[in-house]
Every structure is written in structure tokens, then in C-alpha cells.
Amino acid sequence: MKVIVDQHKCVASGQCVLTAPEVFDQREEDGIVVLLTETPPDHLMDDTRQAAILCPAQAIWVAEQEKQEGEQ
């Protein structure tokens, strides 16, 4: 699993940090998302996916490794 964020879409809602604090943080000055790790460990996958779903700006993408391999 690989996580991608779009800081230009982010509206600084902090929902990602509330959902997966080990994966996301917010910049101090304007609250824009900061990705702490592009490849979260297995036990954080569900929280990370949930953060992508809840983000009100659709600024988080989760690229699923399995699917990419399956599609190739």
C-alpha cells in the first residue's frame, strides 16, 4: 500500500490525523496535511484507508499494491 496526498486540495480539516495519527500530521501554520510515511505498516492500513475515505477534500489516495500487480 502506498499513500499519496495532494496538499493543494487539502482543506486542513485534520480528519486524517484524527483517524490515523501515525500516518498523517498537519502543518503548524496552516493545518495542511503532512504525510509521515508513504508506506504505512500493515496494522495501520485500515485506519489509513478510512482516512482517505473520510477526507472531505478527497486529498488522500491509497494505491493498493495487490491490485496494481493484479492489473499488470
Partner: protein
């Protein structure tokens, strides 16, 4: 349950569909939406799309591949016109009807209008087409009057002013955004707009539109004065899109009336702007027009349709962008709530505040303070005692000040 129909294919409808599939439900799924476009997001419409910062494609919610992965029958550009609850069928505009075992209603809201609003030069803003039409008209350099100073009206005014236009906002309440956020925050929003050269006429209702030759020429106010205008944006709030449910037997009263689990009738659920439900966390019936709620409620409604039977009890979240100021809020904001600044200082443009009602914290608001606000959310989640906030020491009341003129560089066009 073999067949599920979702009516309304925007934030809530799309999320409901994805939730069903993610939960492993593999029955026959039909999505019905009256807009011709693939699903897109609305918050950017009054912001980046209006100012031209983003091309329209950036607001699209899903790639064609992601939509295809839903394995749903997608009816776009086709309204649902009636619901037969007993016969378990949704009727479409073209005469076709579709049967279901489960139904999710996610039809959102439609803008209110004024009599005579079919004049040329009069706009509302709800859809992508509305936004593109409004942007094209703004580019001709009109004198703009925005009727209504709620979130939408104030955002549109800010966007138009950022484009260098002459903008006046008319509002019957004494300050903008008073109903959601109260007098004092409203006064701060008023001053933010004035500092950017947007004119406000608050405390006077708009009486009617003036026109000549089928084109709007101005807005007449309650006191008889008239504001000349080449372009008028009506931002008067919105009403739930439930016209197609008239006569269905579902209870309609400011939206689809649902129980705590977002259920309107057996096997029929509602989510997003159209749904009204008793929120167990606050003990009141609410209907929210917030982007975050569309997602959260759709997840809850879809889960409950699949059998979760879990009451939907979120702490609502909302944000609005006005010029370069971001206002964010968690909770609910009763008109008679107390307000208290918790951190920062309204006079330098960055603060957080709490709202107390009947002895508990019911809402928190952040003004350019996203991270601090996030940490304060727990006050609402935990229903903290209001005395815990008021005993924390003296706090300065929000004062109206012109801090933004000195602290932030302006990039606005010259106001003639």
C-alpha cells in the same frame, strides 16, 4: 437483499455505493442521478472553480476506472420522479421504473429563489453548470450584488472580490453568518469582508429584483433604496430535494424524516443534505448541509441498510474559506449559546472559541487555527462542562479589528 437503488450520485450517493461494495455486498446496484456530469465535489465550486484557480476537472470525485469498479448501473442525466414504497419501485423521468429491495435517498438540496429570478444576470450556485455559468459572467466585469450572507453568499462575494469586482452583499440579519455562528463571529466576518473592499448592507432584506428588457438591473431593498447590479447571485439557502417523494408516504418535513439510524422506512434510508435525523450525541433532530456529513452519513446509512442498526451520532464538522481566512467548526451552534475565546486573539486573526449551551460545550470554532481546533474537538466529543471552559481564567471577548490589513499582503484588483 438482491437489488439496491441509490438516488442522487454526488458525495453521499457515491460514498454509499462504495461502502456497500467495500462491505462485500455483491448484489445488483443502480445509481440514479439527474445531473449529466460524472460525480464531482461542490465545495470547490464557490472557491477554486469560481476564481479560476482550478479547471472544472479537478472537482471530479472519481476516475472513470473507479466508477467502473463499482459495477453499478449508472443512470446519469435522469431524474427519479416518484417512489412507490409498497411496490418497491423508483420511477424515472423517461417513463422507466426500477425495482429495489433496498433504497438510499441522497438527493441533496436545491437553492431557494426569488420571484423573477429567471431574469438574465440572475444566478444561483449549486451545480457545476451553475459555477461555470457564474464564472463566465463574472469575467465580463459586472457590478455584483449577492443576496444572502450565509456561507455560500459570503464565499461567492469573497471570490468575486478576489477577481477585482465591485461587490455588495445584502443580508436581512444584522451581520453575516449570524444564524450558524452568532453575533460576534458574524461581526468578525463582516469586518473581514469590509477590509477587503466588499460592501455590506446588513439588517435590510432584499425586497425585489429590478429589471429592464428581461435583464436584471438591480436589487431593491426593504427601505426602498436600490442597488444597481449587472449580476445578482441569490444565496438564500436551500430546500431539500424531496419533490419526487411527494405522495410516496415517506414523512417529509425539512428533508426526509429518518430515525436515529438514518432509516425513513423499512429498507429505505437517507443520507447527506436531504436527510433529517435525531442525533443521539446532541439529543436533537438535525439536518446538515456539510461536506463531511455527506460522507459520514452515507457510510452509516449504507451500513445500516446492510444490517448494522447503529445510531448515527457524529460530531459535525464544517469549514468555510473567505479570502485567505479559514473558519472551521465542530459541533452544533444553538442561537442562544454562550461564546468564549479559548486561545489566540481575534484581533490578530487567529483564535479558537467554544460555544456553551445548557452547561456543556456543544461546539468549537477555529479562525485560522486548524491544529488547535482539532485538539479542542474532544471538548465536544466528551460534552465537557461549560464551567471547565469559563473557569479557565479571563478571556478577552472577540473584538473587531483591522488586523488583516497590516498582517497580510493583498493581491486584490483595484476597487474603482
Amino acid at each position: 437483499m438482491k437489488r439496491i437503488v441509490i438516488v442522487g450520485v454526488s458525495a453521499a450517493g457515491l460514498t454509499a455505493a462504495e461502502t456497500l461494495r467495500r462491505r462485500g455486498w455483491d448484489g445488483h446496484l443502480t445509481l440514479i442521478g439527474d445531473e449529466p456530469h460524472p460525480p464531482y465535489d461542490r465545495p470547490p465550486l464557490s472557491k477554486q472553480i469560481l476564481t479560476g484557480d482550478w479547471p472544472a476537472e479537478r472537482a471530479v470525485l472519481r476516475s472513470p476506472q473507479d466508477l467502473a469498479r463499482l459495477e453499478a448501473d449508472l443512470h446519469l442525466g435522469q431524474p427519479a420522479t416518484a417512489l412507490d414504497v409498497a411496490g418497491r419501485r423508483v420511477h424515472l423521468g423517461g417513463g422507466e421504473s426500477i425495482g429495489f429491495d433496498g433504497l438510499i435517498i441522497a438527493t441533496g438540496v436545491v437553492p431557494r429563489r426569488l420571484p423573477g429570478s429567471d431574469l438574465a444576470g440572475v444566478h444561483v450556485l449549486r451545480t457545476l453548470d451553475d459555477a461555470l455559468a457564474l464564472r463566465a459572467a463574472l469575467l465580463t466585469g459586472p457590478r455584483v450584488v449577492v443576496v444572502g450572507a450565509g456561507f455560500l453568499g459570503t464565499e461567492v462575494a469573497a471570490a468575486a472580490r478576489t477577481m477585482g469586482l465591485e461587490v455588495t452583499v445584502v443580508e436581512p440579519e444584522p451581520v453575516p453568518v449570524r444564524r450558524p455562528f452568532g453575533e460576534r463571529i458574524g461581526a468578525l466576518v463582516a469586518d473581514l469582508h469590509r477590509a477587503h473592499g466588499t460592501r455590506l448592507r446588513c439588517g435590510i432584506p432584499a425586497r425585489r429584483l429590478r429589471s429592464a428588457g428581461g435583464r436584471v438591473t438591480g436589487v431593491e431593498l426593504g427601505d426602498g433604496t436600490a442597488l444597481p447590479a449587472d449580476l445578482v447571485v441569490l444565496a438564500l439557502g436551500a430546500t431539500p430535494a424531496t419533490g419526487w417523494l411527494t405522495g410516496s408516504g415517506l414523512r417529509l418535513a425539512d428533508g426526509v424524516v429518518c430515525d436515529a439510524c438514518c432509516r425513513a422506512a423499512p429498507g429505505i434510508y437517507a443520507a447527506g443534505d436531504v436527510a433529517s435525523w435525531p442525533n443521539p450525541h446532541f439529543g436533537t433532530r438535525i439536518r446538515l448541509e456539510h461536506r463531511m456529513n455527506a460522507t459520514e452519513q452515507a457510510i452509516a446509512a449504507a451500513g445500516n441498510l446492510l444490517g448494522d442498526a447503529t445510531p448515527f451520532a457524529p460530531v459535525p464538522y464544517f469549514w468555510t474559506d473567505q479570502y485567505d481566512t479559514k473558519i472551521q467548526a465542530y459541533g452544533v451552534f444553538p442561537p442562544d449559546a454562550d461564546l468564549r475565546v479559548i486561545s489566540g486573539d481575534p484581533s490578530n486573526g487567529r483564535f479558537t472559541a467554544a460555544y456553551g449551551h445548557q452547561g456543556v460545550v456543544v461546539g468549537v470554532l477555529g479562525w485560522n487555527a486548524p491544529r488547535e481546533l482539532r485538539t479542542l474537538r474532544r471538548l465536544v466529543v466528551e460534552r465537557a462542562r461549560w464551567t471547565a471552559v469559563t473557569d479557565a481564567g479571563p478571556c478577552p471577548p472577540p473584538t473587531v479589528d483591522r488586523w488583516w490589513q497590516s498582517t497580510r499582503p493583498r493581491t486584490l484588483g483595484v476597487h474603482s
